[in-house]
């Protein structure tokens, strides 16, 4: 499966204008760029569902048919909210992880400012069997080697 790792592309198509030339009313629901209705009933429903207004009711204090539909949809949504990952999935993921994590050899991770203190407190990531060395230490070692080389050259 192709996976898009670029978070900026996650919503790349959200504002893409449709190339469909048909009038909005004739296009499929998924292609319409404007709300279908701007009537008071829909506005009242949206306000209720957003927690900004009481439920729209009829003169008999009953929920309107539309509000009743959304009550039922909300019950269904609430039941889906309780859904849990099948138990085998976590183990499956862990077993499928690559054994060599090249990511750990990538340059120092750039965590968010709020978490840098935690990252700093941890030991620097080092691959097993490899020696990591800061650039300044490498430069000092190079200078020392060159100096030793010059001394040996004079002695000979």
């Amino acid at each position: 499966m192709m996976m898009d790792m670029n978070p900026d592309d996650a919503l790349a198509d959200r504002d893409t204008p449709t190339s469909d030339w048909r009038p909005a009313g004739e296009r499929p629901l998924s292609d319409r760029e404007v709300p279908l209705r701007h009537d008071g009933a829909m506005a009242a429903l949206n306000a209720w569902l957003d927690g900004e207004a009481p439920a729209p009711r009829t003169a008999n204090s009953q929920l309107t048919p539309e509000a009743e539909l959304w009550s039922r949809i909300s019950v269904e949504a609430a039941s889906r909210r309780k859904l849990r990952t099948p138990s085998h999935v976590a183990a499956q993921i862990m077993n499928a992880l690559p054994s060599s994590t090249a990511a750990r050899l990538v340059a120092a991770p750039a965590f968010h400012a709020s978490v840098t203190t935690v990252a700093r407190a941890q030991p620097a990531p080092t691959a097993p069997g490899r020696i990591s060395m800061p650039p300044t230490a490498i430069a000092i070692m190079a200078v020392v080697c060159m100096a030793l080389g010059a001394v040996f050259a004079r002695m000979m």
């Binding site: 499966m1 209720w48 009743e68 750990r104 991770p109 709020s114 978490v115 935690v118």
Partner: protein, 208 residues
């Protein structure tokens, strides 16, 4: 229809379940980010099992998102697995909060899957029904509205479906959605409103 009767008998209870968007305090978010950063640092230092902490912590929410976006448990599992493997392999590239980062990877996986399905002209209704509908017993227990809602969600564009699922199924606040999707509250509200209107147009003939 039995389900309608049961809900209609207790509208107050149903209404009580309406938008219950969990309020997440910024301090909680920061605390969770710090915990995640500790786990990431342990993984980066070679502790593979520390990654299991992150998998366990976020798998439920991510699975729910993938399942409601694709409508298929098998596809949701595949997307989850591919996403966590990608995350593990690119852990050094985490910028900001891990939960938002892994959510984006899963969301992109769902988007790619939906694009490929539509491009190949495979019928969602015919070929991508959740696999657990194959057994008659389970099919019987699933409510008619649930099936119709799955169908109606399948008619929405990716962006409307994503907004609706995050708001209504995952119970996120608009602020949290804006944070996760790097968008604005106003834009997301509009998307949710459009999704509701589209869903209502699709379902009201039968239910309202």
């Amino acid at each position: 229809m039995t389900t309608r009767t049961s809900w209609a008998s207790s509208p107050a209870a149903a209404v009580a379940d309406l938008p219950a968007a969990p309020k997440t305090l910024p301090s909680d978010v920061a605390e969770q980010a710090d915990l995640d950063a500790r786990s990431i640092a342990r993984v980066m230092a070679g502790d593979r099992e520390a990654f299991a902490v992150l998998v366990t912590k976020y798998s439920d929410a991510l699975y729910r998102h993938a399942l409601n976006m694709t409508g298929s448990p098998d596809v949701a599992e595949d997307i989850m697995q591919a996403s966590f493997i990608k995350a593990f392999s690119h852990l050094g590239e985490v910028r900001g909060r891990f939960d938002a980062w892994i959510f984006r990877i899963v969301a992109n996986g769902c988007k790619d899957w939906l694009k490929n399905i539509r491009r190949s002209h495979v019928s969602y209704e015919e070929d991508d029904q959740p696999s657990h509908l194959t057994t008659p017993d389970e099919e019987l227990t699933r409510s008619e509205l649930r099936i119709d809602l799955d169908w109606a969600l399948g008619q929405l564009s990716h962006s409307l479906r994503e907004a609706f699922v995050m708001k209504h199924v995952e119970g996120r606040s608009y602020e949290e959605m804006a944070d996760m999707l790097d968008s604005t509250v106003g834009a997301l509200k509009m998307r949710v409103h459009r999704a509701r209107e589209a869903l209502q147009a699709l379902l009201e003939g039968k239910y309202a």
